[in-house]
Symmetry: none
Subunit: 206 residues, 4 copies
């Protein structure tokens, strides 16, 4: 299938983010160059640089959330599904940590922001937050069905529990993996971290 120009532009943008550009210093010219198209072409499809970036990110995140939902749909048991989800966080983290963490914490912080990039992102944020919350709830409901937890806790509590499990992976990857902490290597296998993460959920809600 031929990629639409939009997708081409999204992917060029995301690949710049992978190259560790900070969002705010991505240049339209860079995107065009990566995508092998003219600068002007970008403006045929988007109204501004900010729109390109914010939509590219939304595009990526929606993809991620979808991937994780697909895992749930496979109708394996809760534990298997959730562990599989956690395991899938690793490759997602690989290159796009900032975005990943940023969006897990999609926040009202930029509410009064003067920055137009952030203003535009908020338009997508609500939608993404909804999708994410929906995914979290599916996870929780599955654990309920299987009796892993006995009774559905408050919204905040189950949100925080799922989030913490995922955070476990993120924090490990972001701050411990391949690094010395207190001059000590703190290395675990991926499977060990998944174990800890899964355990976090159970401890918090079980």
């Amino acid at each position: 299938m031929v990629k639409s120009k939009q997708e081409l532009i999204y992917e060029a943008t995301l690949s710049l983010i992978e190259d560790n550009y900070q969002l705010t210093q991505i240049k339209v010219g860079d995107i065009a160059k990566k995508a092998n198209i003219g600068k002007g072409t970008i403006y045929e499809y988007f109204d501004s640089k900010e729109e390109v970036i914010s939509e590219a990110i939304a595009y990526m995140i929606k993809g991620w959330v979808q991937e994780l939902e697909d895992i749930l749909e496979e109708n394996e048991g809760f534990e298997k599904s959730f562990r599989s989800i956690l395991r899938n966080i690793f490759p997602m983290m690989e290159k796009k940590q900032q975005i990943f963490m940023g969006f897990l914490m999609l926040s009202k912080s930029s509410e009064n922001s003067v920055d137009s990039l952030h203003k535009l992102m908020e338009k997508n944020n609500e939608d993404i937050q909804k999708k994410l919350l929906h995914l979290y709830e599916k996870i929780v409901d599955k654990s309920l069905e299987e009796g892993i937890i006995n009774e559905k806790p408050d919204l905040f509590d189950w949100y925080f529990a799922v989030n913490s499990a995922i955070m476990c992976v993120l924090i490990y990857e972001d701050q411990f993996a391949n690094q010395k902490v207190f001059s000590r290597n703190v290395e675990y296998s991926q499977e060990e971290i998944v174990e800890k993460a899964y355990g976090t959920f159970v401890k918090l809600l079980g």
Copy 2:
């Protein structure tokens, strides 16, 4: 006591951040205006705008960590101290969420960053991370002394536990307080959240 020029500049910068400027769009001119000094003066004390911002942030965070350590030093019991720490997160969040969350997740993400602001921040990050880890460990050690937990867990585990407790406050403030989630208000009192946060630590390590 007379404020040093540096401090004057730090505070002007931080006050801009409180005004919800995105880091990357703070202008040297704005800082100078806030500080009531000339633009040129800033360059007598710093080599670049990036240096000003990153050091201002480091200055703020070190202050925060110090404040939290001071609470521990007051030699109240563990539970009282830790709850007091958690309670102190709220005002810190108030205006500087982005920074706060950003630094809790001080990460290797910007490792290869093209962005010079982030490059400079890393110089301070290691130092700050060390201070933070140190604070976390003091917390954990205190809980050990009092038998709240029985045996010192692995570095990653205790780090994650303290971090999760703090995250509980952050996530509540950032994503639930004063907002509808799933069209529902999910309001808790500050004390209820402190309760949940403290409980998180206990559940994870207890």
Copy 3:
């Protein structure tokens, strides 16, 4: 009769001018949209945007001059004809004042102009100027025939006299009609202005 593509393009262009676009900010895309044709099509018939605009204007002016000449051809007496011409200036002014005034003063001013639109216009100017002069002369000759004036004055004098009569209408419409001048309304009926304009010619040459 089917309109030629060229005419279609001229009319789209002129209608943009009526909409009060400044000449220099008319976009090829706007013309194409107005004309309901593709942008590329315009370049099948014209070499550049400037050519389109300058020829559209020439097309319009030649039309005007022709209209005025037709009035003279009707073989009414001089006074009736000239008054009729003056009366016909009003609707011409309506929407295209800038053009109208610009062309009455078609000038050598743009002689060394760097601007390519004006360079191209000059190609048409000479032709239009000739037509206009010819019209003026016909008017003067008619007045001679009827003894309104006794003897044919110098070229500059009769040109200036006809021009002043027309200017009388233009200046009234452009600067007095529907406006306060010195905080006073200075309103005349169209017929009163025609009277003044006609009188101007007679006073200057009679």
Copy 4:
């Protein structure tokens, strides 16, 4: 006396207009180069390119009107003064015809204009128009005092009379001087044109 930066910028702009740039295609970079200053400097003194150009023109015109008023103040008799004014039009025309004619016809034409340059000009136009009208009235009043005309005509009539006299000079310079019209040279001396122009005023109001 040292020229203010503003004046420097005005003069650079006006000198570009003398070089026959069309207003709309003057580049900020050109102005800066002419003025021997950096592009950025211009934005220290003006908010936009349009502001620079429109204020430069207003600056020039106010200068002209002042020059002509000064002549009236010299308290020579009417005829001498008015002829002197007319004589002074020639050098003003020399290089800035477009502007000169444009402003004599300062018009409501651009009222609904989409073009921001013209929008800004209008802010100055009213002021300039007032000054011009004031000058015209002084001329007329002087002619009244000396009995050149018997009774003060209507506003429109005296405005049109003075304007026509000036137009006589302008049209001669713009369309006849140094040009062939109908293949004939139509050359007059400057003094002959002043004679015709003065005569126009007298014929129209006398």
